[in-house]
C-alpha cells in the first residue's frame, strides 16, 4: 500500500467511524422519541394515578428498551414539563393536560366540568370599531362597534388560555351586565338570545408564544401554544362570536373522533 493509499484508507476509516457514531446517536435519539411518545400517552391517559412512574429498570423491561434509552426518553418528557426526576424518589408526573372535547362545540367550563372550576379574569371589555376582517366575519358593516372582550381563563387557579373575543354589539351589549368572571360566553349567548348555538368554524395551530402572551399565561417565553380560531354561529345561522384563543400547550389536549365517510 502506498503512503497516499494508507492516508486515504485511514481517512476512510475515520470517516466511517464518525458516520457510525452519528448513526448510533441518531438511532438512540429515534428510540428515545419513540419511547417518550408511548410514555406520554400513558401519562396523559392517567395510567400513573399515584403520580409516580415505574423505576427505570421496570420501564426498560416493559418497553424492551435499554436503560440509556429510558433515561433519554424521560429527559424528553422532562423538557416538555410533564415529569420531574427527583433523586432518591424517581420520576414523578408534574403536569396534567386537560382534555378539551373536539367532537362537540363546547365552552371551556362545560368541557372541563369534571376537572374543576373555570374562572375568567376579564382584562378588557368594551366596544371597539370592527376592523374589516372582523366585520366581514360577523356580518356587520366595517367600523361598526362590536364588543371586544379579553379574558385570561384559569382552571382551579392555573392559567389555561388567553381569549380574544368579538361579538356584534346588539347581542354583546347585554353581556356587559353578566357574570363574565364565572360563566362561559357560550352559555350567556344562548341565554341572552334565547337561541341555541349552531356550529363553529375552527382552525387549530401550534405557535411559539411571544414574550407578552407568555408572560400573561405565566409560561416560558417561546412555550408552545395551541392556538384556536373559532367563529361561532347561532342555530339560525347568524355569526355571533369570533374568538382567538391561546391555550397553554402543556395544559390542554384536544381529543375527538374522526370518521372516514361523512
Amino acid at each position: 500500500m502506498s503512503p497516499a493509499d494508507r492516508v486515504r484508507d485511514r481517512a476512510d476509516q475515520g470517516a466511517s467511524t464518525v458516520a457510525a457514531h452519528r448513526a448510533r446517536r441518531r438511532l438512540r435519539a429515534d428510540r428515545a422519541r419513540q419511547l417518550a411518545d408511548l410514555i406520554r400517552h400513558q401519562l396523559l391517559a392517567g395510567r400513573f394515578p399515584d403520580g409516580a412512574l415505574p423505576h427505570e429498570t421496570t420501564l426498560a423491561a416493559d418497553y424492551r428498551a435499554s436503560r440509556n434509552t429510558v433515561r433519554q426518553a424521560l429527559d424528553l418528557l422532562r423538557a416538555e414539563g410533564l415529569v420531574e426526576r427527583l433523586p432518591g424518589v424517581g420520576t414523578v408526573v408534574v403536569a396534567q393536560k386537560f382534555p378539551h372535547g373536539l367532537d362537540r362545540l363546547m365552552g371551556l367550563a362545560e368541557t372541563l366540568r369534571e376537572h374543576g372550576q373555570v374562572t375568567n379574569e376579564v382584562r378588557t371589555v368594551g366596544p371597539v370599531p370592527a376592523p374589516s376582517p372582523v366585520a366581514d366575519r360577523l356580518h356587520v358593516p366595517p367600523g361598526t362597534d362590536v364588543l371586544y372582550i379579553e379574558r385570561l381563563r384559569r382552571l382551579n387557579g392555573l392559567p389555561l388560555s388567553l381569549d380574544l373575543t368579538y361579538i356584534p354589539l346588539d347581542i354583546g351589549a347585554a353581556l356587559l351586565g353578566e357574570d363574565l368572571e364565572n360563566t362561559d360566553i357560550f352559555r350567556l349567548l344562548e341565554t341572552l338570545t334565547g337561541t341555541p348555538l349552531g356550529h363553529a368554524e375552527i382552525s387549530l395551530e401550534a405557535v411559539n408564544a411571544d414574550a407578552h402572551s407568555a408572560a400573561v399565561l405565566q409560561a416560558p417565553r417561546g412555550a408552545a401554544v395551541l392556538m384556536l380560531e373559532r367563529l361561532t354561529y347561532l342555530a339560525d345561522g347568524r355569526p355571533v362570536d369570533l374568538e382567538f384563543i391561546r391555550f397553554r400547550g402543556d395544559r390542554i389536549s384536544m381529543s375527538g373522533l374522526l370518521h372516514r365517510s361523512l
Copy 2:
C-alpha cells in the same frame, strides 16, 4: 409639607409614573397581539395573494391602529416565521400554512391534494415487539411483533411532519412490498385489506420540538409542533394503525366544523 412627606410624595409620583408606563406598555402589547391575530387570519386565508402585505400606513388606517402597533404586530408575525420585512420593499409573506382537514379521517396526501405532492422518506421500517401500550391499543398480545414505520413527510419537498406508525403484523407485512414513499398508509390499508377505514380516535397537542425532532424536521430547536396521536380502526371495528405525528407548527393548520348538538 414635611421633608418626609415630600420624599413620600415624590416616591408615590415615581411609582405611579412607573405603573402608568407599565400599563401603557401592556396596553400596546395587547393591541399588537390583537392586530397580529387579525392579520394572521387574513394571511392564512390567502388574502394577500401577491405575497405582499399593504403598507404600514394602509394597515394602520384599515385596522384603526397606530403605526407603532402595526409595527409591533408585524414583529410578532415575523417572530412566528410568517412574514419578513424587507427594507425598501415592505412586508412579505414567507410561510404558507397548509390546511389539514379535521372533519373527515384523511391521509396527508389526500387532504393536501390541491396543494402539491406529498413524498415520504422512510427512515425505518420493520417488525418490533409491541410494547404493552401499543399491544393494548392494537388488540394484539404484548410482545407480539408489529410493523413499525418512521417517515419524514414532505410537501413539494418541504418537511411537514415526522410520523411514527405501528400496525399489526398480519396486515403490516403486506405493506413492506408497497410504495411507501409515494402512498398514504391509509390508502394502502384500504387496498390491502379490502375494507374501508371506519374512524379514528385523535388527540392534538402543541409541544416544543426536542433538539433531535427539530433537526429531522429542519425546524429551529424548540419550534412549536402540532402533535397528533391517532388510533385508526377499520370499518369492521379492528384497530389497525397507531400513529404519533409531529407536524411543523409553521406549516400546518387543522380546520373543521364543530356542531353544538351531536
